[in-house]
């Protein structure tokens, strides 16, 4: 092997075939100046649309002092909003995690009639406007709706009550877990599960001891996303909830009410809870990526 150095590139002869190595700077075409400009533009964009709003939320929340900030959370309407948000999340996240795992498992390990339809349906909530999603539930369960009279006859209050809010949130957050798991499970294949079966494990045991541990990081991340969206959902819940103070307002809805009543500081104080949630979600996500040490490779199959 002989080397010729010339202006940052070198030619190496390997097995008699000349091979030219380009130094890193030659591979990309743009000048250093252009690159710096692009990076600055990206940072500027992020700062304007992400960091600035976040900073403003906290600035406005504390604009009347720390005491007022804390007092916001003692307001009964605020507390019921927080309680409702937590309740809805506690209902929606486990259900969607279960269905997400089941759907991903079905799609990744089996071939069946209607598989493509299922994949499309999983993605449906992401392409439908949340307001439309909420409206659909009103049309089904509302007083003049499809199942309205049936629900009324059985004493079931769906719309303008917790069940409706939960249903709307369930629909909107459904894809998150499934979309994290499907590409990963497809990539992993069935060999590990089949091995477990040949070793004597029942289908259920193989699922618990082999399948689930194999996807645990992606599952956690999907649950994280599902939770963040469940707590922050506005459009669908707004249509379905009826905005009954103290009863059917989630945190986002209560924030809107406070803001419309010109109680800006209180609105932002409550909103800061959601901002904390966002930061915590990001922090947890970073921790997950670090903890899984690269085994967590998100690939979109579609």
């Amino acid at each position: 092997m002989s080397e010729l150095g010339a202006a940052g590139s070198s030619a190496i002869f390997e097995a008699g075939v000349p091979t030219v190595l380009l130094s890193p700077r030659e591979v990309a075409n743009e000048s250093a100046g252009a690159r710096r400009l692009l990076i600055a533009a990206a940072i500027g964009f992020l700062a304007l649309f992400l960091l600035l709003p976040l900073a403003i939320v906290f600035a406005e929340a504390f604009s009347r002092g720390a005491a007022a900030y804390v007092a916001t959370f003692f307001d009964p309407d605020a507390r019921s909003a927080i309680a409702l948000t937590l309740t809805v999340a506690a209902i929606v996240v486990p259900i969607n995690a279960t269905f997400g795992i089941a759907a991903a498992w079905a799609v990744a390990k089996f071939d069946f009639v209607g598989k493509n339809l299922l994949i499309t349906l999983i993605d449906l909530p992401l392409s439908v406007s949340p307001v439309v999603a909420g409206l659909v539930f009103v049309l089904i369960f509302g007083a003049q709706g499809l199942l309205g009279p049936w629900a009324a006859a059985h004493g079931l209050h769906v719309i303008f009550a917790l069940p409706g809010v939960a249903l709307a949130t369930l629909f909107v957050t459904f894809p998150f877990v499934a979309r994290e798991l499907v590409p990963l499970m497809q990539q992993q294949g069935s060999a590990a599960e089949e091995t477990a079966l040949t070793l004597g494990a029942s289908g259920w045991k193989a699922f618990l001891t082999v399948t689930l541990p194999n996807v645990r990081w992606a599952l956690l991340y999907g649950v994280l996303l599902c939770n963040a969206r469940a707590m922050g959902e506005f459009g669908a819940v707004s249509v379905v909830s009826g905005h009954i103070r103290g009863l059917t307002n989630t945190i986002p809805l209560q924030v809107e009410i406070l803001y419309n009543e010109y109680d800006v500081a209180a609105a932002f104080s409550l909103a800061s809870l959601l901002a904390f949630l966002a930061l915590a979600t990001l922090g947890f996500k970073s921790w997950l990526e670090w903890r899984s040490g690269g085994a967590f490779d998100r690939q979109w199959a579609r």
Binding site: A191, T195, T198, G200, S202, V210, R216
Partner: protein, 231 residues
């Protein structure tokens, strides 16, 4: 041990009898159905018609778990989140409490297997820390831990480089002679089949072209396909 099949499309009228303790190779080009046949024996797939017997036992209706076959996949399919020890012990730890050996018994058996595989002391390592050859031996140990009726290997050396492959061939033959376990392995590499097997079954497009000892098959090919395949 006798196995007899008739199945449409992928495998056609397979009639194969394997003696206990034999090392049989299923040899053939890609897509000839040899892996499918192996999977049917394991119970991972079902035949449309025909019967499978392990000795006196009719295994056709037995579930994968009941058949107690040791299966080693081409890519080993080790459980990445478990240590080598847990991988090998898996078949024993998933048994229902009544049938499960004691903790000490499991440790003893795993230690014996690790010794047999020349992997003593590797129990605490994880699959990601092992070389290809080491992973293959762990996969074998895992299959052997359940004391299977028959050992099924799908292209056991497919994922290894040439030198390791050659070394492991002799090692596998040794292992087979020591355990006396009926073994069926699938390969498309004819030198491997010829060198290792007691008998070779050559498949083409779902049919068995010829079955016989390696020398018999190469010296007296029964069909033009066999003659060309072994040329």
């Amino acid at each position: 041990m006798s196995k007899r099949f008739g199945e449409q499309t992928v495998l056609e009228a397979i009639d194969l009898t394997i003696a206990p303790g034999e090392l049989v190779a299923l040899l053939g080009p890609s897509g000839c159905g040899k892996t499918t046949l192996l999977r049917i024996i394991a119970g991972l797939e079902t035949a449309d018609a025909g019967a499978l017997r392990f000795g006196e036992i009719d295994a056709t209706r037995l579930s994968v778990q009941e058949r107690r076959v040791g299966f080693v996949f081409q890519a080993y399919a080790l459980f990445r989140h478990m240590s080598v020890f847990d991988n090998i012990a898996y078949g024993l730890t998933v048994r229902p409490r009544r049938a499960r050996p004691s903790r000490r018994e499991i440790e003893r058996r795993v230690a014996d297997l690790l010794d047999m595989m020349q992997l003593a002391g590797f129990g605490a390592r994880y699959p990601a820390q092992l070389s290809g050859g080491q992973r293959q031996r762990v996969a074998l140990a895992r299959a052997l831990a359940i004391e299977p009726r028959v050992l099924l290997l799908d292209e056991p050396f497919g994922a290894l480089d040439a030198k390791v492959r050659r070394d492991l061939r002799g090692w596998l033959r040794d292992l087979h002679d020591r355990t006396g376990l009926t073994t069926v392995f699938v390969t498309h590499d004819q030198s491997e089949a010829m060198e290792l097997a007691d008998r070779v079954a050559i498949l083409n497009a779902g049919r068995i072209e010829q079955v016989g000892a390696p020398r018999e098959v190469s010296e007296a090919p029964a069909t033009p396909f066999v003659r060309e395949f072994l040329a």
